[in-house]
């Protein structure tokens, strides 16, 4: 059922994007491991580091899929709902961290509020790309792509 939602072109592109996303995630984890182990850099609470690295990878994959029109399948309502949900979560996390905005970083390390804010940035980026893609797509779709040829000809006359 999952595969039927995407056509062959979309499946191919999604596979390529997932592969790059996996490499990106592994790369981030290796950099994080190096910083933690060899440089002694602890930039966030341990559990939060994993969350932020994962969120960065998910954001990268989501943004590329949205840009390449393979984020959702054909005519899926999720194309319209998910970006707005992402923006909602972004603002929600932002407002959660707002009361502690003076304490986003403590001792060179992100606080929990700082982690919330960074997560909000990731959600915002994905949401804004999705909404922007939705708006641009609507404006750029020509009559020829959605209207039968004869109807386009009669409009031109």
């Amino acid at each position: 059922m999952y595969r039927e939602e995407y056509d062959e072109r979309q499946l191919k592109i999604r596979g390529d994007v997932y592969r790059r996303g996996w490499v990106f995630a592994v790369g981030l984890m290796l950099v994080n491991f190096y910083l933690n182990t060899f440089e002694g850099v602890v930039w966030a609470p341990p559990g939060s580091m994993f969350v932020l690295v994962s969120m960065a990878s998910i954001a990268y994959v989501s943004i590329e899929m949205m840009v390449r029109d393979v984020f959702v399948g054909r005519d899926s309502w999720r194309l319209y709902v998910i970006p707005f949900c992402q923006l909602f979560f972004a603002f929600w996390l932002f407002f959660l961290s707002w009361p502690d905005r003076d304490y986003l970083v403590s001792g060179g390390m992100l606080t929990r509020s700082g982690v919330s804010l960074v997560n909000a940035v990731f959600f915002f980026l994905v949401g804004i790309v999705g909404v922007g893609k939705f708006i641009v797509k609507r404006r750029l779709e020509t009559d020829e792509e959605t209207t039968p040829a004869k109807a386009v000809d009669s409009k031109k006359r």
Partner: protein, 69 residues
């Protein structure tokens, strides 16, 4: 890969939009657009489905000499 104007012409002859053709062959509109623009090389199965829908042969739409760009 050049544009596939034969596909576009065959689709226009059937008075189909990209969306309508896409729905009939069970792919997205963007895929039909990508095929017409020469940005995507479809599988034989999809080529056959498109030809069946448009009432054309594979040679008439997808043979290399038929593509202009």
């Amino acid at each position: 890969m050049g544009k596939n104007l034969r596909l576009k012409a065959a689709r226009a002859a059937m008075d189909l939009s990209q969306k309508q053709l896409a729905d009939r062959v069970n792919v997205s509109r963007q895929t039909i657009n990508a095929i017409e623009m020469g940005d995507y090389n479809p599988t034989v199965r999809l080529c056959a489905a498109i030809c069946r829908t448009l009432g054309k042969t594979l040679d008439e739409i997808f043979w290399e000499d038929a593509q202009e760009g």
